[in-house]
């Protein structure tokens, strides 16, 4: 079965790379650019993993993550992306249920590898 990756980021230039990279790994991708849109996309698209940017319009990545987990989406892997990369953010992200935390700018190879590891864990 083809794995599905939801990309939630509002910066099209980064989305271009993410979309391309995920596509090249053979994953189905869907892109949303707004925090509020994530929930509908998750219901519809049923992703195995979400690349979730912290800085989203309307609803930040932390909030989205926490609400997804609170809403019973326990199995979907969540990888948070941020341009801030402060320890306090990492600590908060992991505390509220993210599976991984990646700081921009990231190495494409590392990102691909970490996504693969997270998806391989899935039951």
């Amino acid at each position: 079965m083809t794995r599905k990756v939801l990309i939630a980021d509002d910066e099209p230039n980064i989305v271009a790379s993410l979309e391309f990279l995920m596509g090249r790994q053979g994953y189905d991708t869907l892109v949303v650019g707004d925090g509020d849109e994530v929930f509908a996309a998750v219901e519809r698209f049923r992703p195995d993993l979400i690349l979730l940017d912290v800085m989203l319009p309307h609803r930040d990545g932390f909030e989205v993550c926490q609400q997804l987990r609170a809403g019973g989406h326990d199995t979907v892997k969540i990888m948070m992306l941020t341009a801030k990369g402060r320890e306090s953010e990492v600590a908060k992200g992991l505390a509220i249920g993210a599976d991984a935390y990646v700081t921009k700018p990231f190495s494409t190879r590392d990102l691909v590898a970490r996504v693969a590891v997270l998806l391989a864990d899935e039951p």
């Binding site: 230039n13 980064i14 932390f62 909030e63 306090s88 600590a91 505390a95 700018p105 494409t108």
Partner: protein, 734 residues
């Protein structure tokens, strides 16, 4: 001192003489009896029987004449010389202007005149010496006065302390800044512990960091305000620190510009990272996947170009902005976790906030914060918990976690959902300009979230930066402040009273009271005004005045002066004495409110009053209702004066003042009388010293002796004798 000193000796002398006279009469009778024949004996017996009244009267008369003669002789040749000696000593020590009274007998009158002549010359010579000393020290005084003037002009509050943390010096700004809390009167005073203002741990922490060459300031809570405290060691070159200088600044209000700048810098950094991410993603995709279709390749190339351009523009903006000091983190200072929690607890509004229980204060943990804003942010969130989430009580805890500290507020109930919390953080906080909680958190790189636990409790957690964690402004090693000369001068030079370098000599304070030297003790000299003289029968205190004496100096500006509502009428008779009317007392605090403040003012000092047992009786009666007990030692200037001058009969305040050369002004206000009493104390101390009374224990023993002596003598009443029971102590009786 001999047990036959003074009046005791007189009594013994009279008794011995009486015995001798009676023995003489008896011996005379016995001799006559032995020599007489039987008939003569009969005649003699008859004579004695018939003339018994005459004979006994004769003996009694003889005794009376001898006794009177002895008393007179004692007065003239024992008491008077002793009085002359005491007065001469007065001239030689505290009051060169004093003169002996010239009274008969002629020989002593002559001696007194001679001593007075000598005193004239002595006084003139003394004036000459004093003038020379003054001239010799003029430049030192000038230097000190220059320093004093400089300090008083400084806008910053300055406290100079010795190694024990005793305040040696402070300026007017320090008083203005720190003396505005009615619950903490007199925290700024010579010889006071600076740790009443600044936490001991904070000073230790800052001094440690100063030695390590790091930043040397920290933030601490002061009532509802926050103070920025800077500490610098005072050390002569190459020696241990002999003290430290504390600079205190109110950071309750600061400029918004710093914060805006901070926000801009943060945005720029994030923007740069975003662009870099886009470029790297595109380039690496191009390099890793050579088989990319042409249109995709084109897209990546455009991304690289656009983002590189944007990056350049951002860097340009950053450069422009750096004309201002972008690295200003001046609002971020070290604050102990204990202080943070104490401040949060103090600031949270009782009516809006939840009750706060402190689980762990994170003792020994230090944070780097804009303390004021951080406290506002935390309290704003806690207040919202109560008003919008119905949390009545939270347990606060703080513990270090990596480079951050976790501040956790835990309650029984459901967690906040993320959206609600986000809304709360976008509300403006009070007293921080236009900042929202989110702004404040962002400046601290802090995070907040709420989660539930399995056991049905929930928590709100903040991650705050630990000290030494996030980047700090660089600071070179602090150069030690210049060492201030610590030798005392003769005290006659004009200098502000808030100077006392002599306290540099003061050593550890835990020496038992009894062995403390009188000239090293800090005294609180006080007086009360009352509605009458009978504390047990409903008379009440209506005013308390006090002033401090430290290192033998009267500190006129370190005073305590409060009126007290007695909750009863002030009798007209006592009103005539002190001039305090019922109207003046209406609305004043009650004794239960004033005594705790007075107790703090008098903390760690010896209490002194004139005829002080009167005032103490009133204070003791209020112990139960005010919850304040005065456990420190007490001295009485009346008893000390009697100990110094046992042969003078008058020990009223006026009489002592006259003897010691103190001008009497402003009597019969509590503060006025306290000031006069303090003047007397300052003059009595060297006289006590001259009599070999050096320690508090010795002074109390001497006072005890005179107290007993005076109790035995009806003509020196312990209590003022009054004719009008409604009046306060009559003028001249204290």
């Amino acid at each position: 001192m001999s047990p036959f000193h003074g009046r005791g000796r007189l009594v013994v002398a009279v008794a011995v003489l009486s015995v001798l006279v009676i023995a003489g009469v008896v011996l005379l009778g016995a001799g006559l009896w032995a020599a007489a024949s039987a008939t003569d004996r009969l005649a003699l017996a008859r004579l004695v029987r018939s003339q018994a009244v005459f004979l006994i009267s004769g003996v009694v008369l003889l005794l009376a004449v001898v006794g009177l003669a002895v008393v007179r002789l004692f007065g003239r040749h024992v008491q008077q010389p002793r009085r002359l000696a005491a007065d001469t000593r007065l001239i030689a020590t505290v009051n060169p202007g004093h003169r002996l009274s010239v009274r008969p007998p002629a020989e002593l009158a002559e001696l007194a005149t001679a001593v007075n002549e000598l005193a004239e010359r002595y006084e003139a010579a003394e004036r000459g010496v004093a003038a020379r000393v003054r001239a010799g020290r003029a430049d030192i005084a000038q230097e000190r006065n220059r320093l004093a003037a400089l300090m008083s002009e400084l806008a910053a509050a300055v406290l100079v302390c010795n190694a024990d943390g005793r305040i040696l010096l402070y300026n007017a700004a320090a008083r203005r800044l720190l003396e505005d809390r009615p619950d903490r009167p007199g925290v700024v005073g010579l010889g006071r512990s600076v740790f009443g203002v600044v936490d001991r741990d904070l000073v230790a922490h800052v001094l440690d960091r100063a030695q390590a060459g790091a930043a040397v300031h920290a933030t601490t809570a002061w009532g509802e305000r926050l103070l920025r405290v800077q500490v610098a060691p005072v050390a002569p070159v190459g020696t241990e620190a002999t003290g430290f200088v504390v600079l205190v600044e109110d950071v309750t209000r600061r400029f918004d510009t710093t914060r805006r700048r901070d926000a801009l810098l943060r945005d720029l950094t994030e923007g740069v990272r975003g662009s870099a991410a886009a470029i790297r993603g595109a380039i690496e995709s191009l390099l890793e996947y050579p088989d990319i279709p042409a249109d995709q390749r084109e897209r990546f190339a455009v991304i690289v170009r656009d983002e590189a351009t944007a990056l350049g523009a951002r860097v340009d903006a950053l450069m422009r902005q750096s004309a201002d000091d972008l690295t200003d983190r001046s609002l971020h200072e070290d604050m102990s976790a204990t202080d943070l929690i104490a401040a949060v607890t103090a600031v949270i509004p009782a009516e809006h906030g939840p009750r706060i229980r402190v689980d762990t204060t994170g003792e020994g943990v230090w944070l780097t914060l804009d303390g004021y804003a951080a406290v506002r942010a935390v309290t704003a969130l806690l207040a919202r918990l109560r008003t919008a989430h119905e949390v009545d009580e939270v347990a606060l805890g703080l513990r270090p976690a990596g480079r951050y500290a976790e501040l956790t507020a835990r309650w029984a109930g459901t967690p906040l959902d993320a959206e609600t919390l986000r809304q709360w953080t976008t509300e403006r906080t009070t007293g921080t300009g236009n900042d929202t909680v989110a702004d404040i958190l962002a400046r601290h790189e802090a995070q907040v979230w709420s989660q539930g636990e399995e056991d049905g409790s929930a928590y709100l957690r903040l991650l705050l930066p630990l000290a030494g964690g996030p980047a700090r402004e660089p600071a070179g090693p602090t150069p030690p402040a210049r060492v201030i000369e610590s030798r005392p001068d003769d005290g006659s030079l004009a200098r502000p009273e808030f100077f006392d370098f002599d306290l540099f000599q003061a050593t550890a304070t835990d020496v038992a009271w009894e062995h403390r030297r009188l000239d090293e003790i800090a005294y609180t000299v006080f007086d009360t005004e009352t509605t009458g003289l009978q504390p047990a029968e409903g008379d009440e205190i209506i005013a308390i005045g006090a002033v401090r004496v430290v290192n033998g100096r009267l500190l006129r500006q370190e005073t305590f002066d409060r009126l007290v509502d007695p909750r009863r009428a002030v009798p007209a008779a006592s009103r005539r004495i002190h001039g305090i009317s019922n109207d003046m007392l209406r609305g004043q605090p009650t004794i239960e409110e004033v005594l705790p403040a007075f107790s703090r003012f008098a903390e760690d000092t010896v209490l002194v009053g004139h005829n002080v047992s009167f005032d103490l009786a009133f204070l003791r009666l209020k112990e139960a209702t005010s919850g304040v007990t005065f456990t420190q030692p007490v001295l009485d200037t009346l008893l000390l004066s009697a100990a110094v001058h046992p042969d003078h009969e008058e020990h009223t305040m006026e009489a002592i003042a006259g003897r010691l050369g103190v001008e009497v002004v402003g009597r019969h206000s509590a503060l006025g009388d306290a000031l006069l009493t303090a003047d007397l104390l300052v003059r009595l101390l060297p006289l006590l010293h001259g009599q070999g009374i050096h320690t508090l224990g010795q002074a109390r023993a001497a006072a005890q002796r005179t107290y007993h002596a005076r109790q035995d003598e009806a003509r020196y009443p312990r209590r003022p004798v009054r004719s009008d029971p409604g009046a306060s102590r009559a003028p001249g009786q204290r």
